[in-house]
Each structure stands twice: as C-alpha cells, then as structure tokens.
Symmetry: C2
Subunit: 349 residues, 2 copies
Amino acid sequence: MSKDSPNAASPSPARQRRSSDQVTLSQVAQAAGVSPITASRALNNPDKVSDSARLSVLQAVEKLGYVPNLVAGSLASSRSRLIAVIVPSLINSVFVEVIKGLQETLEAEGYQILLGNTDYDLDREYQLVRTFLGWSCSALVTAGLRHNKACHTLLANWDHPIMEVMELGKGMDLNVGLDHVAAGRCMADHLLDKGYRHIVYVGARLSQDYRASMRYEGHKAVLKEKGIDAPLLELDTLGSLQAGAEGLAQVLAQYPHTQAIHFANDDLAAGALLAAQRQGLNVPGDIAIAGFNGLPLGQHVTPQLTTILSPREEMGRLAAKELIRRLSGKNVYRRQHDVGFTLQTGGST
Amino acid sequence: MSKDSPNAASPSPARQRRSSDQVTLSQVAQAAGVSPITASRALNNPDKVSDSARLSVLQAVEKLGYVPNLVAGSLASSRSRLIAVIVPSLINSVFVEVIKGLQETLEAEGYQILLGNTDYDLDREYQLVRTFLGWSCSALVTAGLRHNKACHTLLANWDHPIMEVMELGKGMDLNVGLDHVAAGRCMADHLLDKGYRHIVYVGARLSQDYRASMRYEGHKAVLKEKGIDAPLLELDTLGSLQAGAEGLAQVLAQYPHTQAIHFANDDLAAGALLAAQRQGLNVPGDIAIAGFNGLPLGQHVTPQLTTILSPREEMGRLAAKELIRRLSGKNVYRRQHDVGFTLQTGGST
DNA sequence: AAAACGAATGGTAGCGCTATCATGACAGCG
DNA sequence: CGCTGTCATGATAGCGCTACCATTCGTTTT
C-alpha cells in the first residue's frame, strides 16, 4: 500500500489507518446498490427485505467473496453464537462423547464450540470461564456441579444460560446428568445379588474424579446396610488399562479374600480383566470384575464386562437441545434432566 | 437508566442506546485515575507503563470485577488469539489426542481453541473454514492436506498461518505429520519378514479415511515388488472393535488361505484379535493380525498387537509450538516436520 | 546550553457491524 | 381527505477496545 503523499500544511493530520484488505459488508452493499444496513438484513433477516434486494446482495456476496466479520457482528449485537464447553479431560473418552453430542447438535444450529480443558483443576476452570465470558459466549456448558468460589460468583452474575452436565443435582441453572450415587448403589446391589461378600471398590484419583467417589458412596451405603465392610483402594494414576492392571495386583496383595472388584470405570475394569486373563486367573471364578460407563471395549473382552451404561452422547445432545430451546427464548419447563443409566450384566460377575 | 428528559425542540434526538451492564475498561481507567489507553496497556503491555499506574489499574480491575471484552479487543486489533482446529471426527481417538497436544500447548500461551468437526465431509470443512475466518482466527489447524476447491482458494488468500497435520506432503503453509505410505510399506515389510505370503489389507471407509488408503498403497507396493498379490477388503462401517470382528469374519470367508491381516488401524485389529480369541482361533498361529496407531489397548490384549506407533499427542504439541513460533514473528526454518513412526512388534504376528 | 532522545501518558479515530429510530410509500378505513 | 398501519429502506450512532500519533517531561548527547 503506498501511503498518500503527506501533504504538508494540512491542519488535520489525516491519520494513517490500518486496514485489513478484507471485503466488508459496506462494499457488498455498494456493489448491490443498497445501504449497508439493508445488506446486513439481507444476510441475517432475509424476510425483512424485498426479494430483489436480497438477491442482489447475495450476488454481490458471491462475486466479492465476502466473509462476514463475526467479531464485529458480535460486538455490535452482543450475541456471539459461541458456546463455551469446559471439560476436565480429553483423555477420558467419556467427555469426548459428550462433546460429540453437543457439537453435532449445536453446529447444526449454527453455534460454534469454544473448548476448554481444566485438567481437573477448578482454578483453571475459573480462568477459562473468565476468558470465555470475555468472548460474550451465548451459553456455557461445564462438566460437573462443583466450582470454586470465584467461579461460582462470576457465573451467578452472568445472564446467559449455564448448563452443567454429567451429574445430577442442584445446579446454577440447567442440568443434564445422571445420579452417580444411585449408579454406585445399583452395582453394589448387583454384586450382592450375585452372592459376593468380599468386595473392594477401586478408583483412581477420587479427589479429582469426584463423581467416582459419589459412586463409591452409593456402593458403601448398600454394603453398610447389610453390615458388610466396603474397603476402598485408591490409585494415584488416572484411569487407564495400565492402572486397572495395577489395581488388580494391589487388591490381590492387600485383600487376598476379595471375591469381586467394583472398579470406578471401564478402563480400569477392562485393564484388570485383560491382566487377569494374562495371569491365568479365572473371571469371575477367581475374581469378579465390574466397571462403569459401558465402553464398547467391555463388550469385546471375554467374559463380557458387567458395567453400567451411561448415555454420554445422548447427554450431550439433550444438553444442546435444552440450551437451544432456551437460547431461542422458549420456555424451559424443567431445569433438571435425568438421563439415567442401565445395568449391563456380562459374564465378568 | 433514566433517560435524559427529552428537551423538546432539540434537533438531535438523543437516541436511546442499549448498554450491557458489564464493567468496561473505561470504568476501570476512571477508577484507577488514568486514561483508558493506559489501562489497556497496563493489562496487555505491562512493561509499557509505570509501576504505579499498573498497580492502580490492577487494583481497580480487582475491585470492579472487570472481565475484558475480548470481542471488542479483537475487533480493534484484528488479533483474536483464537486458533481454529478442524478435525474429521471426534469418535476416532487419534484426532482427540492430537487436539489434546495442541490444546495443552496453545492454552499455556493464552490461545483458545475453536473446534470444528467435518464428519469427513470436505464441503462441511469449507463451511467451517468460512465461519472461522469470520472470527479472525490467529491461525488454523486442519487434519489432512486435502480440501475442496473453494476451501483451497479461501485459504490460499488468507494471510495467517495454516497448519496441516496428520500426513506429510506439499501443504499450503505449515505441515506436521508422518508418511503414511511409508508406514504401510513398513508393516508390509514386517509381515513378509515374518514369512507370511497370503496377506489381506482390511480398511473401513477408505474414501473418507484416505490416509488409511495411503497406507494400503504402501502395503501394496511392497507386495507387488515381490510379485505377491495384495487383496483389499473394505468395510463400510467406520473403524471400531465391532467392525474389526466383522472384518475378520469376512476375510476368513472370502480368503480362506489368509495367513495375516493388515488392519488399517488398531480399533479394527484389536476387535479382530478379541473376536479370534472368542472363537478359539490361535493368533498368530491360525491368523496373524497387525494394526496401526499404537493404542494402549493393543498392549493389553494377549498376544500383544503388532502395530505402528504414531506420536499423536507429540504431533499436536509440535504443531502448536511451530504455530506459536510463527505467530510470535520468529523465523520458520522448516515448513514441514516429519514426526515419524515406530514399528512395535507384539506376539500377534 | 542547545539539541536530541527516550519513557510514560493521553487524545482521537476508528475496527466492521447492527440496534435504534426516522422516513417515505402505499394500502385500508371511516 | 386525513388518520393510522404496515412494509421496505436508510441515516445515525455506537458496541468496547486498541492503533496511531502527539505531547510532556526528565535525561542524555554534542
């Protein structure tokens, strides 16, 4: 760009302006022979303009290769069509499946996902929330009902929909999830039904994965009601096949009379099951194994894994639908949705 | 806000303005006793202002609970610190691991990820790219080198870094990946070394997962050089344990003399291996099985899966680092980075 | 001592879009 | 014929922030 010759004595300095060479809506409007605001309407509220105006604007858009500047649009309208999604982990496929459900539903409605990962750190969550609020997100989805104080205050004063997913409970606004305490009870009931009495619960990093500890609470309550001890073994690596194998080894060492292991999730359970197989242990004869989540892997190991199926993609889809309903100004009849769970009995118990 | 009394004969109508009740930088500046621009600098270029000014601005931010409006900032500076990431699928954990690597590196530098999912549809990719350009993204990461015409044109005229990941080749700008043809060759070499001659390649939806078909090309080339036939079986469900089990069944039916199956990925291979186990087939005695990716699952089945390990998180991290280097104006010495792969031999071949 | 320089700060003018209000044209109605 | 109502369009004024240039003041250079 050659700047204009700096004509000397000009009193108004004619300040040099930056300019992105991008096509603007004004240029489109000019090419279409309408005012900028009509061009804007032609694109965003097509039924507010005449057919002829709409047509010539669309032609100009095509001809000039116009790409709308969404940043400017958001600033002017303070609506961004961005949805913040905050999850504690991407390694854990459970969250990814929820994201998948959210995404396919939200993208279809023209929303985009801003993704944040807290690594199970609530302070990190607070930082992400701050950033995302700065983007004037239309809504925020977060995994879990627990937040730190600052985050809670910030969100409580925010006037957009907040959707808390995964677990069920008294949330800030909208909530889609399942009852983890009940899920823990359910599996404990099943194990008792099967006649097991020496049952160990094995979890990984329960202070982080507090939903797993809620399941343990349910598990423990059921056993206590029968006067049965409910030992807990906590691993300090995150859930993985490897951790599951280690969990099995530790249980066998520390609680030699154990008949069944209730694992906090399927990764651990499958890891243990495959390890048992390698060691020539009979499942469930020598030791019974149960998990949680209903991952496909559990259906392909031998014996099939007893687990609790959680509808993860469905949870994401439902959360997205409820958000969309709310964002389009419709009434929300229920703030809380229980997606439930299903006991899936396999040969492993 | 009570609007000013509409003093009658005023020629300027004193238009009613919307106002979000959010704290603005001007309010912070006022509270801190400095000009708005100094407040801006105190937050974004701390070393451009005096210690006293910075301190009073930070105190005012704290006191008022100021959250920067990033939309406004982006519009004014035409820099957004958003990075668009476009992947074909979230079900396939491979892409998620790359995202993980990208995210942990980019978030640490203050960038946010805008996530898009094409579902293996290049037209969908084009739409996503359009949207993301509208957000003035600082850079764009896309999985793969193939784009449709419109997308290519759009990107070619875009003046921000573009990072194409997963595969290696002549890209639009930056490229981090591995040579899939070579990976296919590598596994074929291994299978020949092991003495197998009747080898079937099994893939799923190869027109979509074209990197798997590149691996097949490598595989086929190696076998052809030895004058060996390289039959291909294509499944039309996406890669999964279930599909792998079906693949095994189809191979046994259609090619009864098969000695080894080279699967397009580990999900398929592990599914086949677990199915073989259920059916009492000996691996590798009756049939050898090989995969691609190096998923943890492959190390936990018996026998361990022979596979090719691809450094997925590392790919994401490296891509992010290169982008950051480029975004911070440093010289880029290499536009192309080969992250390589490793043959991991297990008992399954 | 004059000139030159750098550091800290501020005034101004937008970034590209849309909300708000205003206008003009035309139809319906008593 | 004036009044009101609807429709399509446009002029104007920001949304909240930062780039650009100008200014001030204290320090260094010649």
